[in-house]
Symmetry: C2
C-alpha cells in the first residue's frame, strides 16, 4: 500500500493529557537507504517487519509493506540491526477528524517530539491542534532511519 | 535458527537425471551487507522474505529467519530490490542420506551451477555424488547476494 502522511514538530506537552494510548516502541533498521528501508519494530509485546520504498517529491507518500512477527523473532532480528536502536513512547491523540501519532524519543534522540498524521490523499484538509509546531514533512533528518544514524543529540 | 551448509561447484549435468523436483526461483535483495542480508524470493507461486546474519569464520553457519508472504507482496517487494534480480532453476537431488539443492543460474549468472547440502552440525559426514566439484563454502563471490552485485558474466 501507499502511505500518505505529514510530519510536524510538537511545541508543548499538551498532547499528553488528551492521548488515548501510550505505547513503548523499540526499533532498528536492517537497511536505511532511502530507496528501501527495512525496519524491525517491537511495540509492547508485538513484533513487526516493515519495508518502505522511496518517498515521492514532497516526501508525503511512500510505499509501505508490513508484516506482524512474533516478539521472539523481532528480538532476534533487532540484534542484527545497524546501530542505533531507537527508543520512543508513542501517544495516539485524536483531534477533530484525524488521529495524530506523537513520538516522544528517548535515549540519543531525547528532546525530539514528532507528530504524524495519516491522510487519505495528499491534499486532504485536517485541523491543527494548538500543540502542533513547524511542519517537517520531507525533511530527511527527521526520518527515523536517519535518526538511527545521526541521532538528535549530535545535531 | 542457525543454518549450517556447505557449498560446491557442480562438474557435470548428471544431477538433472536424478533430481526429484525442479523449481523456478527469482530473487532480489533489499540489503546485501554481509552483516544483514535481506532477501525477497519468488519460488513458483510462493513468496518469502528472508533475513540472514553474518557467517561464522568458516562460512558454514549463519543465522537465518524466513517468513512466507503472498505472491503479490513478493512481487511488490522485488520491485524495491537492488539490481540485479537473480533467476535460477533449483533441482532437489537426494544422495545417500542427504538432500542436495542444485542451483542452475540463468541470465547474467548463466554458466554457474552451485550445489548446497544442509547439515545438522558442522562436522557431519556426507557422501559426495560424482557430479560434485570443488568446495566453495565461505567464498564470498558465490554468495547469492554477491552474484546480484557482481554476476558471473563479469568475473
Amino acid at each position: 500500500m501507499i502511505e500518505i502522511e505529514r510530519k510536524f514538530l510538537v511545541k508543548s506537552e499538551a498532547y499528553q493529557a488528551v492521548a488515548t494510548s501510550k505505547t513503548r516502541i523499540a526499533q532498528g533498521f536492517l537497511n536505511t537507504e532511502a530507496e528501501r528501508t527495512v525496519r524491525v519494530r517491537i511495540k509492547d509485546n508485538q513484533g513487526f517487519i516493515t519495508v518502505k520504498g522511496k518517498s515521492n517529491a514532497t516526501g508525503t507518500s511512500r510505499f509501505e509493506w508490513e508484516k506482524e512477527i512474533s516478539f521472539s523473532e523481532a528480538t532476534d532480528l533487532i540484534d542484527l540491526c545497524k546501530p542505533v536502536i531507537l527508543e520512543k513512547i508513542r501517544y495516539e491523540v485524536p483531534f477533530a477528524n484525524h488521529l495524530f501519532e506523537v513520538d516522544r524519543f528517548l535515549g540519543e534522540n531525547k528532546g525530539l517530539v514528532i507528530a504524524e498524521v495519516e491522510l487519505a490523499h495528499e491534499d486532504e484538509h485536517f485541523e491543527k491542534p494548538q500543540w502542533l509546531g513547524k511542519e517537517v514533512t520531507g525533511d530527511v533528518r527527521y526520518y527515523n532511519s536517519q535518526l538511527s544514524k545521526k541521532p538528535f543529540a549530535e545535531w
